[in-house]
């Protein structure tokens, strides 16, 4: 089998965080090669490097035996590489036909456009993927699964020899998935190489010839699918050594602080979530990207209000339609994207901490800077936030200390329920341990914590119970004695 595409020791870091640490991969002509791994294992980054959307820091790409020095999206297209990204990348103001044309047509900027031919080709390709979408509709009016089908039509229309698919089935129905499988087989039989990323292992076994497992940005191994079992694959995906200890001291549990009863937010893809968190308890939320964990957190905090179900705080039914409702009922939320949503980087530590409790440091409707400063200083000491002073801008702090500032904000509001979304993502090991210790302190003071993390060892080490989400709802609740493989199996839907 001749290698169509060869990646050798590809490494890539973003802002000092290592995404790929030397990945090697080889795709042959007429092969469907599956790529699996946990969240953050580096699959999407690898795809973006092969399509030229990102440049590797080191490593080598060989296409058809030619070593490729630098790749950008248009040269990658020239080599016959087409991709379906996890996030649809369509032009919302242009028609479906035109979106497809942008992926396929080559030629100078002054060439005439043949609209009839564009519409016709789009229709043919959409028929091939089994999508009943009018090619003259604007892409912005399509539902997410329809957008995904257009992406697929784009990729197959390019007659590409190397097709990369990053979670193409995430939003498709079963019939659409079957149709896609047939399309992939046609591509393979025509001699194309397909890289197929999916969290759905049954699809991997159904369609792939070989499977490569990535973990923490490195290749764990490549095997013919016939030689591995689901169980073995999951073990390879999670088989990380427990290098850190998570200092969760046993804390006596109090009454139920937060209860969700059949909570749904269909627009956000969350449905029928029922869950209890008691005082002093840490409940982990595990699940793969797109399972609805962050959306559940946003629903709970009123960022996108629920459309059905109840939220009870300390046994009282409460109505949460906005973040201010959530704050009033004692719920605090540290979002995933710290720099974008968690803290305000250009503002001082003191102002960041006090922003949700300005009334407490105000007199006659005016903020009293001295009181604000004193109150913030208290939290700086208590949380051991490393900052020259409370007036330092948050952007000058390290990631771990920024995260502590985000936490301090909710301690100041007196939140009794904290929702933490990936609180240790992108912080160094030392800061991580401190944040863990801090969460430990909080539950000792009878706070209830809902902890979202993609790092299974963290959840297993920190939590009293782990709720595993899949497809927008709770697939099961596991004790902390569960193994990573058990959590992963539940998240993937393989009990």
């Amino acid at each position: 089998m001749a290698a169509l595409l060869e990646c050798v020791s590809i490494a890539k870091s973003f802002a000092g965080v290592r995404a790929l640490a030397g990945v090697s991969l080889e795709i042959g002509a007429g092969e469907v090669h599956a790529l699996v791994g946990e969240n953050g294992a580096g699959k999407s980054t690898l795809i973006r490097i092969i399509t030229g959307a990102e440049r590797p820091d080191s490593g080598r790409l060989t296409i058809d035996g030619h070593s490729v020095a630098s790749l950008d999206p248009s040269t990658a297209r020239g080599f016959g590489i087409a991709a379906i990204y996890q996030q649809p990348s369509l032009f919302p103001d242009l028609t479906v036909a035109e979106n497809i044309a942008f992926a396929l047509e080559l030629g100078g900027p002054w060439r005439r456009i043949d609209w009839k031919q564009r519409l016709h080709r789009a229709q043919v390709l959409l028929d091939r993927v089994g999508a009943s979408i009018d090619p003259s509709r604007l892409a912005g009016t399509l539902r997410p699964p329809e957008q995904q089908l257009v992406e697929i039509a784009k990729a197959i229309g390019a007659d590409a020899r190397i097709v990369l698919m990053d979670e193409p089935t995430a939003s498709l129905t079963d019939t659409e998935v079957l149709r896609l499988m047939a399309v992939i087989k046609t591509l393979r039989d025509a001699g194309a190489g397909v890289i197929y990323i999916s969290h759905r292992l049954e699809e991997v076994f159904a369609i792939a010839d070989r499977v490569t497992v990535l973990r923490d940005g490195a290749t764990v191994g490549t095997h013919p699918v016939a030689d591995v079992s689901t169980r073995q694959l999951i073990e390879m995906m999670v088989g990380r050594q427990l290098t850190q200890l998570f200092p969760k001291k046993p804390v006596p549990l109090g009454g139920v602080a937060l209860e969700l009863v059949g909570l749904s937010n269909l627009m956000a893809g969350v449905h029928d979530v029922s869950l209890q968190v008691r005082r002093g308890e840490i409940v982990g939320l595990a699940g793969l990207v797109g399972c609805g964990r962050s959306e559940l957190a946003e629903t709970l905090f009123g960022l996108s209000p629920a459309d059905a179900g109840d939220v009870l705080v300390s046994g009282q039914r409460v109505n949460i339609d906005s973040p201010s409702d959530a704050i009033r009922h004692g719920i605090g939320y540290v979002p995933k994207d710290r720099r974008q949503h968690g803290v305000i980087p250009e503002m001082s530590v003191a102002k960041n901490i006090s922003i949700a409790s300005l009334a407490a440091v105000s007199a006659n409707g005016l903020v009293q800077p001295a009181r604000e400063f004193a109150a913030a200083g208290e939290y700086v000491n208590r949380l051991r936030i490393k900052t020259p002073s409370a007036s330092t801008d948050v952007e000058d702090l390290s990631g771990g200390n920024q995260q502590k500032v985000a936490l301090a904000r909710w301690l100041m509001t007196g939140a009794r329920v904290l929702v933490l979304d990936e609180p240790t993502q992108g912080v160094d090991v030392g800061a991580k341990a401190e944040i863990h210790a801090l969460i430990g302190d909080l539950v000792e003071q009878a706070t209830a914590v809902l902890l979202i993390s993609s790092e299974l060892p963290e959840l297993l080490g920190m939590c009293d119970r782990i709720a595993v989400m899949r497809a927008g709802t709770i697939a099961g609740i596991l004790p902390p004695t569960a193994t990573a493989a058990e959590v992963m199996a539940l998240a993937l839907g393989h009990q």
Partner: protein, 303 residues
């Protein structure tokens, strides 16, 4: 090509109602001399707005067109006084506009400075630079052969009408049927997807500023030829009228969506409302308030 689409129907209807009201209450509005005055007065806005439509489609904005208009007007006047033949004066005007546009475009596209900042700085800097260079003096006593660009006064409105019509049709056709035109829409609709599709986003954005500058040059040339002097404060506030017209014409300020026919309708509606009020005997102070209301109503009905 420039088919009247859904969002433009409301504009056509509004203009139609206004036209009927004028026919019923103030038929003098339709006198030939008034219509010619109206046309020549709004011609610069129309031509600059065609260029601004391109910039807005690409997701950017250019508020420096008024200052560029002033500089090109003065440059055209001076070069015709210096004895350059008419064709050369025209070339100088278009080139000067394109060059200023290229400076804007390069700063926005390649240095990644937000276009509102770049063009605001250019708007102020060019305007005051011109004031300093001319010491506030007008360019006086333009040569006779520059007047009406060597045409007769009666043929000039028709000639400019044909030119503006040709520019409109060419731009509308190219924006729809030439790959480069579609690329502008793509860049404005989703710049990241455009990059993944292999488009050179910076270059495309830069070109829209160059084209916008060149069209501003054309507008300045056509306007200067109407008078025998050029005031140094010409084109003051032009950018606001232009952007307002483009928005009323249905453009999305976030980029990716606008039509040239819509822009023309926007220019017509905003341009006709003031003179119409005068004819109806309504105080001219209401003109701006009504224009503001039209802008809000337009944006409200498109989102």
């Amino acid at each position: 090509m420039t088919i009247v689409q859904g969002r433009e129907r409301a504009l056509v209807a509004t203009i139609g109602v206004l036209a009927l009201v004028m026919a019923a209450l103030a038929p003098g509005f339709y006198s030939a001399s008034n219509l010619v005055d109206l046309w020549l007065g709004r011609l610069p806005v129309l031509i600059v707005a065609l260029g601004a439509t391109l910039t807005v489609i690409s997701g950017e904005i250019d508020v420096s067109v008024g200052s560029m208009f002033a500089i090109v007007s003065v440059v055209a006047g001076l070069s015709s006084k210096a004895g350059l033949p008419l064709a050369a004066v025209a070339g100088v005007a278009v080139f000067a506009g394109a060059t200023l546009g290229a400076v804007n475009g390069a700063l926005v596209a390649f240095l990644r400075i937000p276009s509102i900042v770049v063009t605001l700085a250019m708007m102020i800097g060019l305007r005051d630079g011109l004031r300093w260079a001319t010491q506030g003096e007008w360019v006086q006593d333009l040569p006779d052969r520059f007047q009406w660009l060597g045409l007769s006064q009666s043929i000039y409105p028709l000639a400019t009408g044909l030119l503006a019509g040709a520019l409109l049709l060419a731009l509308a056709w190219a924006a729809r049927n030439v790959a480069a035109g579609r690329a502008i829409f793509a860049v404005g609709s989703n710049a990241n997807a455009a990059r993944l599709a292999g488009l050179n986003v910076a270059q495309i954005k830069c070109w829209t500023f160059v084209l916008g500058g060149a069209l501003t040059g054309v507008a300045a040339l056509l306007n200067s030829a109407r008078f025998n002097q050029i005031p140094s404060n010409t084109g003051l506030g032009l950018e606001m009228t232009v952007i307002a017209s483009v928005i009323v014409g249905g453009a999305a300020v976030t980029g990716g969506r606008a039509t040239f026919s819509g822009t023309v309708l926007g220019v017509v509606l905003l341009g006709a409302i003031g003179p119409a009020l005068t004819f109806l005997g309504v105080s001219a102070y209401w003109e701006r308030a009504i224009q503001g209301a039209i802008i809000l109503a337009a944006v409200r009905s498109y989102v």
